[in-house]
């Protein structure tokens, strides 16, 4: 590979770099710059205002309300999703452990895996619309069932007490399947002799799960955590389509705040970019924190 490699490097690298530079890098860089102006969108004027947008942001109750909701998502979404994911993956991959082969899946594992993964291939828009209909106060699936039991169901997405939790439930619903498959794949990679040894020692199912399986899966769980944390900070499309942040801002999230500020009735692009910058640093710190918190001694078994 000595001569003639430069023509190839140039032709192969320059077009992707250009595309990436124009549509990805430059917008990111511009966002930081715009966040220090008072630009109102389509007008040409944009004055430099320094950190004024960030100061406004600190006093903006709507933003804080949205951040509070994101914080709840950040706490609940990874916890419940990973919990359910681990639970179902364990059932599927080692639920039927009475066989002499040590650990085997329950019957019908393939079918379960197929079904659980459904939401993962559907678009968020479809998921949002389906669930809006399920939650529909009069003719939704949920209230029709409650009605059959003689209970008068609330108007789920129209009720500030429930709206946010309803959206959160859908977020969990749509994510669990993916983690079942992910953890399942990681479990398959654990050598069987480890389980045989543990079983010979007479360990129970739960001891095996908590002392063997989960420690060996720790790397995967950690990645899942980061990924879900980022999803929790985002979560905006689902909110926008299901409740649009309402009723009365009860289900608002920071992404939606930014979107509305930029593309809503007033086009406050400067302020919206400031929210974006805050989101950027929040995401970054969550990822770093998650990596730190989850760091443990790595277990090698290969």
């Amino acid at each position: 590979m000595r001569h003639g490699k430069y023509p190839l490097i140039v032709t192969f690298l320059v077009p992707p770099l250009l595309l990436y530079g124009i549509f990805v890098l430059s917008p990111y860089l511009q966002a930081f710059q715009i966040s220090t102006t008072n630009w109102l969108g389509y007008s040409a004027e944009a004055d430099f205002v320094g950190l004024e947008n960030f100061a406004t942001l600190l006093r903006d109750g709507y933003v804080w309300n949205a951040i509070k909701n994101n914080a709840i998502l950040l706490l609940v979404l990874p916890l419940v999703t990973i919990g359910l994911g681990l639970f179902f993956a364990t059932m599927l991959n080692m639920g039927g452990r009475r066989g002499r082969a040590g650990v085997v899946g329950v019957t019908g594992t393939a079918a379960y895996r197929l079904i659980y993964f459904f939401p993962q291939v559907l678009s968020v828009v479809i998921i949002a619309i389906i669930w809006r209909e399920v939650y529909h106060p009069n003719n939704g699936l949920l209230n029709a069932s409650l009605g059959a039991l003689g209970i008068n169901g609330p108007s789920w997405l129209g009720d500030p007490r429930f709206a946010f939790w309803c959206v959160l439930a859908v977020l969990i619903w749509s994510n669990v399947g993916f983690y079942v498959v992910l953890f399942g794949a990681a479990m398959q990679a654990i050598p069987r002799d480890i389980y045989e040894a543990v079983m010979l020692d007479g360990a129970s199912r739960f001891v095996t799960l908590f002392k063997v399986t989960i420690p060996l899966l720790w790397d995967t769980v950690q990645v899942a955590w980061i990924y879900l944390a980022i999803a929790a900070l985002d979560g905006f499309i689902l909110v926008q389509l299901m409740t649009n942040g309402g009723p009365n801002f009860s289900s608002d999230v920071i992404g939606l705040r930014m979107y509305d500020t930029a593309f809503g009735s007033e086009t406050k692009f400067g302020y919206a970019s400031a929210i974006g910058v805050v989101m950027f640093f929040l995401t970054l710190s969550v990822a770093v924190l998650a990596l730190r918190a989850a760091r443990r001694d790595r277990i090698e078994y290969s």
Binding site: R98, A111, S123, E133, N139, F178, G255
Partner: protein, 298 residues
């Protein structure tokens, strides 16, 4: 091993020969099956409900959400396909995704190949520049992106969407494929070069075919994410609804049919959007599951 192991029945090397586990039943198993079944129902039922409702009349949908349709009303589907333009949006999505996927795969493969196989000044910097894009939320770029696309005269065009989809898929695609190209044996490449194969021919005739499994995984991943993209078209394809992609069209359909009370049309539209994806998924579930899990992990 095999010779020694003939004695106690309990210790036979049973890994593959073991017939269906004996007394697999018992409390624990009923328990696990119960939960598994419950979640399966919870996942599948809403989708099934949409399918069933798509055949109902509006009166049936409003009056009895749990009931079965009294007839298979395919006219709901026809109405959604033509009047609600689902057919048009489908076509638009197909055009955009075909373009963006081709572009992503080509640029992703060439860039990754160079990063994985050639040494040159600034390689590290360029690589991390690319891969760094994975870390940032799309949000941050949304506002400036709007103007970048508008100033380029690409606002509200498919070309604009195609370029933007491709640009935002590049970081992950390059990351994934660079790792993949590194795993391919160098000996083949060296042999080809000695035999007088040029660098370009080497890529197209030798390396690209060898990288096929990796290319397929990442293509599936990108296909689903492009097909399901919502936020980018929402920002970059405002206005002219004849060019909307499927996700936008569905969101609009949900709002309109809600006002008009045409619930059967909405459910039919949802079914039309959902079915092809699910059918393809069921057919290629193994590749899709492993592609997506390999994809989202690093």
């Amino acid at each position: 091993m095999t010779v020694l192991d003939r004695a106690p029945a309990g210790a036979a090397p049973a890994r593959k020969t073991d017939p269906a586990p004996r007394r697999e039943t018992g409390v624990a198993n009923a328990f696990s099956h119960g939960f598994l079944l419950l979640w399966g129902l919870l996942t599948a039922f809403p989708l099934l409900w949409v399918l069933v409702s798509s055949f109902k009349s509006d009166a049936e949908i409003l009056g009895d959400p749990w009931g079965l349709p009294s007839a298979l009303r395919f006219e709901n589907w026809a109405r959604a396909w033509t009047e609600a333009n689902i057919g048009q949006y489908f076509l638009n999505s197909t055009i955009v995704v075909a373009g963006s996927l081709t572009l992503t795969m080509f640029f992703g493969a060439t860039a990754a190949y160079v990063f994985a196989r050639y040494d040159f000044r600034g390689r590290q910097i360029a690589y991390y520049l690319f891969v760094g894009g994975m870390m940032f939320p799309v949000f941050l770029a949304l506002v400036p992106l709007f103007f970048v696309v508008r100033n380029a005269g690409l606002f509200g065009t498919w070309t604009g969407l195609i370029l933007v989809y491709a640009a935002y898929s590049l970081p992950f695609t390059v990351f994934f494929l660079t790792a993949f190209f590194r795993t391919l044996p160098t000996s083949v490449a060296e042999a080809a070069l000695i035999d007088g194969c040029g660098h370009f021919r080497l890529f197209f005739r030798v390396m690209l075919p060898m990288a096929r499994p990796g290319l397929i995984s990442i293509a599936i991943f990108n296909f689903l994410s492009h097909w399901n993209q919502f936020i980018l078209p929402q920002v970059l394809m405002q206005g002219d609804d004849s060019k909307w992609v499927l996700a936008q069209g569905l969101a609009a359909l949900a709002i309109n049919q809600g006002y008009e009370g045409d619930y059967s049309g909405l459910f039919a539209g949802l079914t039309l959007a959902m079915l092809p994806v699910l059918v393809v998924y069921v057919a290629f579930q193994r590749q899709i599951q492993s592609g997506l899990t390999a994809g989202q992990l690093k």
